[in-house]
Every structure is written in structure tokens, then in C-alpha cells.
Amino acid sequence: MVRGKLAWRVGRLAEGRDETPTARTLVLDVPGWPGHLAGQHVDIRLTAEDGYSTTRTYSLASPTDGERIEITVQRVPDGEVSPFLTEVFTVGDPVELRGPVGGWFVWRPASPDPVLLIAGGAGIVPVMAMIRARRQVGGRAPFKLLYSVRTPEDVYYADELRRPEPGLDVTVLYTRKAPDGWPGEPHRIAVADVNTAGWPAEFSPQCFVCGPTGFVETVANVLVALGHDPRRVKTERFGPSGS
């Protein structure tokens, strides 16, 4: 017996929009999609005419919305799959996918705990799904987001994150080039950033940290040093050195 989420389904691209010069959001219609939790992933399988096929895993960018799902794909220079998905894949085209995958790095809307989201670069995608899930259910759990990017042009979902939202504090940190008027110099995330933008450890927030391996290592170590219970710190690392 194949469980529902393991079945390969055929989805179609309903809409595509650029998030940054190198990242594109894909909205897919997936008949039979079983639903998912914010933070989960989907496997996408591409097959060439000669039968060659390859699969990649992408974080879901938004909560369940019927049979419609969203992912945001960062174009990896010289990549095999991301240039296809961001440049060739066209509205109406089919693609195979299965999921949702992953049940650990997830936020459940019933939880009233404060939430600290810390994202580096493309690591914003699964935590954005959590922010959107909170909005979708009218949740009142207090959220803070600390989002590290290289330059202002690298901010995903920029308009949406600029819009004031009750109970959500957004702090953006720039590592290479900051916008005019941003206080301080561009820098990599450090103790002071996490301490200032996060919750005190005694509030016992759920912490979700997602980004490149080095970023996640740094942030997770800082959180533990600041007194957060390691069991409350869930992490997701990008990159081959992470597992």
C-alpha cells in the first residue's frame, strides 16, 4: 500500500513570479494534494525524453491552500534543476511531485508559544510558510523573524515582509550591502543580533533556524549560549556539509 503522501502526482504550473533576480516563486496546482504543515517539503521529479530523471526537494513556501502549493526556487549557477525550473518551466507545464515530506521542522498553528524564526538567504522559504500559516488562521502566537541577506536585492517576499502585521516583528540583517539609512555596518549574524531581535530564553520560544550550514551552526550555538533549551531549537541546514 502506498500512503497518500508517497504517491507521485502530476502538478501543473499555475503561476510564476520573480522574488529576486535569482529566485522565482512557482505556484503549482496539484490534484489530490493531501495538505501539509508549514515547514514541510515537497519532492519534485523531472524526467527527460530519454528517460533520465532526477529529483530535488524544495521547502513549501506557503501553508496548505486546497490543491495549490508554492515553492521558491533559488537559481544555482550551473545547476541541473533550478535553471530549468526558474527559466524554462512555463505556465501549464506538468511536473511530478510527492509529499509532503518532513515532520520535525514544522510549526503547528495550535501552539500558543512565542516563535523565533532565524533565516539566512534562501532559508527564509520554510519560515515564511510559518508566517503565512499564522496569518491564515488568524493566529496570535507572537512571532519574531530575523532574516539575514547579502544585499537589499536579495530579500525574498520583500513587499509582504514590509507590510506591518500585528504580532510579527521583522528584522533584516545585511551582510554585504545595507540600504540607505540602515543603522550600522553590514555584518554577519552575531550574538548581539540574536539577542536584540530574538526572545529572551526565559520566554521559552520555539526557535526555527534555516539557512546555509555555517549560518545555522553559528545561530544555533548562539541560541544555546544565550540559554535556550537545545530541544527547543529546530534547525534545517542547506548544503552538502550539513548532514
Partner: protein, 199 residues
């Protein structure tokens, strides 16, 4: 074979017979990891094997280093689809550690600092297939890679090679570990693409 994706050709590919299906050598992709990296000091490190009857066998760090070690060069395969060929480690074979352990168990639950667990058939840890590894590429294993010591079981997906390993609990019956309880496959053979339950 699935439906053809219009316009997708894939990268020029060589048939590398050492690459299991669905794996590729280097690419950015999400990796699931449970939490912060535990920092374990070797003076506090022990490795414990507990049999199904509750008998404990324990090794300190210096006990481990006093045992004969091996330097396997192996290919490793992560369920998130990356593979790395010809990685070189140094460690103590589980054959050596389990030599004097009297058990009728068929399964082992691997236990790690930080609370992580993973289950395997005991026979997959024997006959030169598994090590407690404490060096990678000639250097001490870093905390990020599971140091001071991790399990190395290269013939299974790498989530079975628990980082920060601290012991084995031998079991007569199989039980799921951390990822296995979250929907990953109980066995995890990369050559059969046993990624999730039901694969």
C-alpha cells in the same frame, strides 16, 4: 519512469556505477538536521552497548583509542540526495567492539548525544560494515560532523550513521528511531532508494 517534463534535458551525464539511483555528487539542497550541534568533551565521552538482558558494556575515550583501528575509504549517500565518493575515516570496527558481547538481539537502536536515535538490523553493523569513526580525512572529527565520534555505516543512507554517537541498545524486536518514526524508511538502502516508509 515518470511523465516527460517538457523542455527538461538534464545535465550531460556519465554513467557512474558508484552513484545510487536518485543521487548526485554536489548541489545545493535542503538538509534536515534536528537541532544545535552538541559539544562533547572526550574526557566525558563513553560508548555503551546494552544488551537485551540489560547487561552494559562500556568504553571510555581512552579505551576506544586503545583498540585496533581501521581506515576505511568509502562512498557515503545522504537521503537528501548528495553522495560523496572516496571519503576516508579512521575508527574502530563494530566487530571489535561487539566481539565479547553476548546477545540474541537482531536489532540495534543507536543512541546519540542530543537525543537522536536510529535503528538498524544488528547484522548491518557486523562483518566489516560499520565503525565508530573519530577521524575524517586524517583530522579529528569536528563537532559539526559528529565529533568526537560518530557511527559510520556507509552502505545505508547517512542518517543511519548517527553523529555524536554514545551507545547501542540491542533489541530482540525492531523499533523506529528518530527519523524512522517521522516517516523515513526503517532500513534505508540507497541502492533501492528506501527513503520513506513504503518505498
Amino acid at each position: 519512469m515518470g511523465i516527460v517534463t517538457p523542455g527538461f534535458r538534464g545535465r550531460a551525464r556519465s554513467a557512474d556505477e558508484r552513484l545510487p539511483p536518485g543521487q548526485y555528487l554536489v548541489e545545493d539542497f535542503p538538509v534536515l538536521s534536528a537541532g544545535p550541534t552538541p559539544r562533547i568533551r572526550t574526557e566525558n565521552w563513553t560508548f555503551t552497548v546494552t544488551t537485551e538482558s540489560g547487561l552494559r558494556h562500556e568504553w571510555s575515550w581512552s579505551d576506544l583509542l586503545a583498540l585496533p583501528s581501521e581506515t576505511p575509504t568509502v562512498d557515503i549517500h545522504c537521503v537528501t540526495r548528495w553522495s560523496k565518493l572516496d571519503t576516508t575515516w579512521r575508527g574502530v570496527s563494530l566487530d571489535t567492539l561487539l566481539e565479547d558481547v553476548d546477545t540474541a538481539a537482531d536489532y540495534a537502536m543507536v543512541q546519540a548525544h542530543g537525543g537522536y536515535t536510529t535503528n538498524l538490523p544488528l547484522e548491518d553493523l557486523l562483518d566489516g560494515q560499520a565503525w565508530i569513526a573519530f577521524e575524517f580525512d586524517g583530522e579529528d572529527l569536528t563537532s559539526e560532523h559528529g565529533g568526537p565520534a560518530r557511527l559510520l555505516v556507509p552502505h545505508l543512507y547517512f542518517w543511519k550513521s548517527a553523529k555524536w554517537v554514545k551507545g547501542l541498545r540491542l533489541m530482540l524486536d525492531d523499533e523506529p528511531g528518530f527519523w524512522e518514526a517521522a516517516g523515513y524508511h526503517d532500513y534505508g538502502d540507497p541502492w533501492r532508494e528506501q527513503r520513506y516508509q513504503g518505498d
